[in-house]
Amino acid sequence: MKGIVFTEFLEMVEETFGLEVVDQIIEEANLESEGIYTSVGTYEFSEMLTLISNLSDKVKISINDLLYEFGKFLFNSLGQAHPEVIKSYTDPINMIQSIEDHIHVHVKKLYPDAELPTFNVLEKTDTSIITIYESSRGLYALAHGLMEQAFRHFGKDVSITYTLLQEDGTKVKFEAKQNV
């Protein structure tokens, strides 16, 4: 997993719960990386799972809720890091539609070894989009948060519902409807 996810995650924890909690969840986990992450590096996915479950235990918030919140945080961070990407879109639906064909192409340019989820668009109108998220990581809640924030970023109010097509969350159908 890319280092930027770890650094941004710890950034969110620090902003939200304070440095002490960051320190605790790292110290309590027996991590190979010892909690030392740089955005340009690549680390084990299991470390992210350990960190987030430690945080969940600590702050008594479900993992999925944490992931959802992290998704929203991550969108903003990524947006700050790569503003040109977001600027090339005028509305969130087009942006989500272009994840596969545009955004992920750019990601692969910078990080050829990145393991990315797929977003297959099933249906799209001017105000709604149905897409199927597929990833062995099963981080659909993170994807949910990212999408939610994408709409907010463009100043759109949205209702996103999702259906688990696989119980482990490795295949999920998202339906996003813009509220007019």
Binding site: E20, D23, G41
Partner: protein, 786 residues
């Protein structure tokens, strides 16, 4: 700042330092990689440059010949190269005039295009960029552009090359598709049929109808496995078909299966599954259309049941039925039709055949074939309902034919023939007429007067005899009120009888009626209520017999009987008086004779004594005679004295009373019956016969036999002796009073007349079989029910 906080910060800084070092290391590695790569690239570049200069001239021709429109433009957008396809698409030629790609972009797309161009030079490529341009002929063309930047040796962008694709049509099609998809969505969502999209057995999308069928909400049902909502018994078949579809053997299948609802109940549905395949035939999704056929199935079952009821009704109908369609093919016939015309085939075999296959057979039965042919031709031509046409068959049957054309929505679709065998009905009607005639002639000719009146006593009918009896003609009687025209002596009786009639009572009674001549006549009337077909009393039928003559005879007879009775009584009294008065001088004579024998026995000679003895005998006979007369006259029919009498007992008693000479024996042949009678009379009857029998036996061994047998209504008795016998000339006389044969002592000539009188009381008869010297056999009968 607490120690703890310092520790945390220390650790954090430590991590940051290490992270920085890690990042620096990674970057150093990357720098080295890049340096190596640059060296490699430089070498490759030099090789390529040589190669390029070789290939450029070749490529130039190739680019020009690319089928898709191809352009090369400088960073400002000015077109510096384009192929023939691009020229014909845009209508501009860079050779003829300078033109800038940016200048022909449609104003609506300007801003977006500007960004895309920036992106192109920034990233180096642009893919599937859509924009609208205005061609030289002012037509608007929607194009898709795939472009890449051309760099010079110094990595400076000098131009961009791109392939344009006219997607105007494609986009129109896309929009059309989107519209159609929206329409389809509306149809799917509002379809009364359940529609569901599945992927490998998992429900991805479903419409409202399907959710309603199963009772799950949209969010509940999506993600469910089809197996979960299928009835277990149908799963194997579904899987088998699904496998075939997966293998590409079939593209769709339909099956009828049961679904389990959320509430656990089931419903039967026709399910049509179609495969949605990608361009190379791999199945991506399955679309299933689900139709609840529970009600349909129930209705079909009901229909089937009613059809079978109807067809069994028709096949067992007592009417011959033949239904033809408009081409005169047989649609339906029944057993009775085949039987009537001896078709020799079952109704099922006739099905679908043209009517000509049976018409010859039918025709062969018709007596008047020409008329029948004419009739059927007219019927088929006019196509109007005709009922009750009568035809006669060679077998003697009378058939009533109905022709009924059948119209559906005003269109003639065929016709129905109905054949009704009315032979029996016709014969019945004829018989009824014959019967009516018969009775009418009986009524007209009978000797009894018949009259029919309604409830108001108005005469509706009177026959010949009644007219004769009453003296009025039929014309005088009809329409008149019975009581007005015929005066009756006892009107109250008549009125009460009329009331009885209304209570459905019928009886007979006698009235006195004055006829037209003013004569009073006795009529015996039998009256009975007359009913209409609903069983209501509408009047009276009276049968009259003039009994005036009989009545007069009866009155005479009654008078005679009264006279007879009083003279009988007088006679009886007379007999008593006479016998009593006669007996008293007899007793005096007897006393005088006894005294004379006692006082003068010594002085009288033998002859004198003998004469006295003779006188004594005559006196005794005289006494017996008088007793006999008394008995005879006192025998009377008196039922009240009847009891159960054992005749065997009676015979025994008689044997003890009467004198039986020693050489005579009385023998009872069979056990005699016990009869209902006056015991005294039976005793007297048998005693009189037996006394006679035993007294007249002269042979050495006398035998009297008594026997009896059951003769149905009566008992027959037989008393046989072997005595002197009775000559045939006396056989009648002996039963008359005072008749004896010879001068046997003690014979009064009354005994057998008493016997006859008793037998007559019991409705019996007596006769005898005898000849002189051959013994006598008496037969007599006694009725059982007296």
């Amino acid at each position: 700042m607490s120690n703890n906080e310092i520790d945390i910060l220390k650790r954090s800084i430590e991590r940051q330092k290490k992270a920085r070092k890690q990042a620096e290391r990674i970057l150093e590695e990357k720098s080295k990689d890049l340096y190596d790569l640059t060296l490699q690239l430089r070498e490759t570049n030099e090789r390529l440059e040589n190669l390029l200069s070789e290939k450029t001239s070749e490529l130039e021709g190739v680019f020009i010949n690319i089928i898709d429109p191809y352009i090369v433009m400088d960073p400002g957008g000015k077109v510096i190269k384009m192929n023939q396809a691009a020229i014909s698409l845009l209508g501009y030629n860079f050779k003829d005039e300078d033109f800038n790609l940016k200048s022909i972009i449609h104003p609506d797309y300007l801003e977006q295009s500007k960004k895309s161009f920036e992106q192109l030079y920034e990233v180096g490529t642009i893919k599937n960029f859509k924009t609208k341009i205005i061609a030289n002929d002012k037509s608007e063309i929607l194009v898709q552009l795939n472009a890449s930047v051309i760099y010079d040796k110094h990595k400076k962008a000098i131009a961009a090359q791109g392939i344009l694709r006219d997607i105007t049509r494609e986009e129109e099609v896309k929009q059309l598709l989107a519209v159609q998809k929206r329409q389809l969505d509306i149809i799917v969502e509002n379809s009364p049929l359940g529609i569901v999209l599945t992927d490998k057995g998992e429900i991805i999308k479903s419409n409202q109808a399907f959710q309603n069928y199963l009772g799950y909400s949209k969010s509940e049902i999506e993600g469910m496995i089809v197996k979960e909502i299928s009835s277990p018994e149908d799963i194997d078949e579904s899987l088998r078909l699904m496998e075939k579809m997966e293998e590409g053997d079939i593209d769709k299948f339909t099956l009828i299966k049961r679904y389990t609802k959320k509430d656990g109940s089931q419903f039967l549905a026709r399910t049509s599954v179609s495969a949605v395949r990608d361009s190379i035939g791999i199945m991506e999704y399955q679309v299933a259309i689900v139709e609840d056929i529970t009600k349909e199935r129930e209705a079909a079952d009901l229909l089937k049941e009613s059809e079978s009821r109807l067809s069994s009704l028709i096949s067992n109908l007592h009417l011959g039925v033949l239904l033809e369609d408009k081409k005169q093919n047989i649609v339906l016939s029944n057993q009775m039709f085949c039987k009537l015309f001896s078709i020799g085939k079952s109704p099922d075999e006739l099905l679908g055949k043209h009517v000509s296959s049976v018409s010859d057979l039918v025709d062969s039965w018709i007596v008047d074939l020409p008329s029948f042919k004419k009739l059927t031709q007219t019927l088929l031509k006019e196509k109007k309902t005709v009922l009750g046409k009568i035809i006669e068959l060679h077998g003697g049957q009378i058939i009533e034919i109905d022709y009924i054309p059948i119209y559906s929505n005003g269109l003639y679709t065929g016709h129905l023939w109905i054949f009704n065998d009315v032979t029996v009905r016709n014969n019945y009607r004829r018989n009824l007429e014959i019967q009516k005639e018969k009775y009418s002639s009986i009524i007209a000719n009978m000797n009894l007067g018949l009259i029919e009146v309604n409830n108001d006593d108005i005469i509706l009918l009177a026959n010949q005899s009644f007219c004769q009896m009453s003296g009025y003609s039929e014309a005088e009687l009809l329409g008149e009120k019975g009581a007005d025209i015929l005066s009756v002596k006892n009107k109250e009786l008549l009125l009460s009888k009329s009331k009885e009639r209304l209570k459905h009572h019928s009886d007979s009674y006698e009235v006195q009626v004055k006829n037209k001549d003013g004569e009073w006549r006795y009529w015996l009337i039998s009256g009975a209520p007359r009913y209409d077909e609903t069983g209501k009393v509408v009047g009276t039928i009276g049968i009259h017999l003039d009994v005036t003559e009989q009545k007069q005879l009866e009155l005479q007879k009654e008078q005679l009987l009264n006279q007879l009775e009083s003279s009988n009584v007088a006679l009886k009294e007379y007999a008593h008086i006479v016998s009593h008065d006669l007996k008293s001088p007899l007793r005096s004579l007897n006393a005088l004779l006894t005294w004379m024998k006692e006082d003068y026995g010594d002085v009288l000679d033998d002859a004198g004594i003998q004469n006295l003895n003779l006188m004594e005998d005559k006196l005794e006979a005289m006494d017996n005679l008088i007793n006999g007369i008394l008995q005879y006259s006192s025998i009377q029919d008196d039922v009240s004295k009847n009891t159960s009498v054992d005749v065997n007992e009676v015979v025994k008693e008689i044997e003890e009373i009467i004198y039986i000479p020693p050489h005579v024996k009385i023998n009872i042949v069979n056990t005699l019956p016990t009869i209902i009678a006056d015991k005294t009379k039976i005793h007297q009857l048998l005693q009189n016969i037996l006394t006679n029998a035993v007294a007249h036996i002269e042979c050495e061994e006398g035998l009297v036999e008594i026997g009896s047998r059951d003769s149905g209504d009566c008992w027959t008795f037989r008393i046989k002796d072997n005595g002197t016998g009775i000559p045939p000339e006396y056989h009648e006389k002996i039963f008359d009073i005072f008749q004896t044969i010879g001068n046997k002592e003690g014979s009064t000539g009354i005994g057998l007349s008493i016997v006859k009188k008793i037998i007559e009381i019991y409705n019996g008869e007596i006769c005898l079989d005898s000849a002189k010297g051959k013994g006598t056999e008496f037969y007599f009968t006694l009725a059982k029910n007296k």
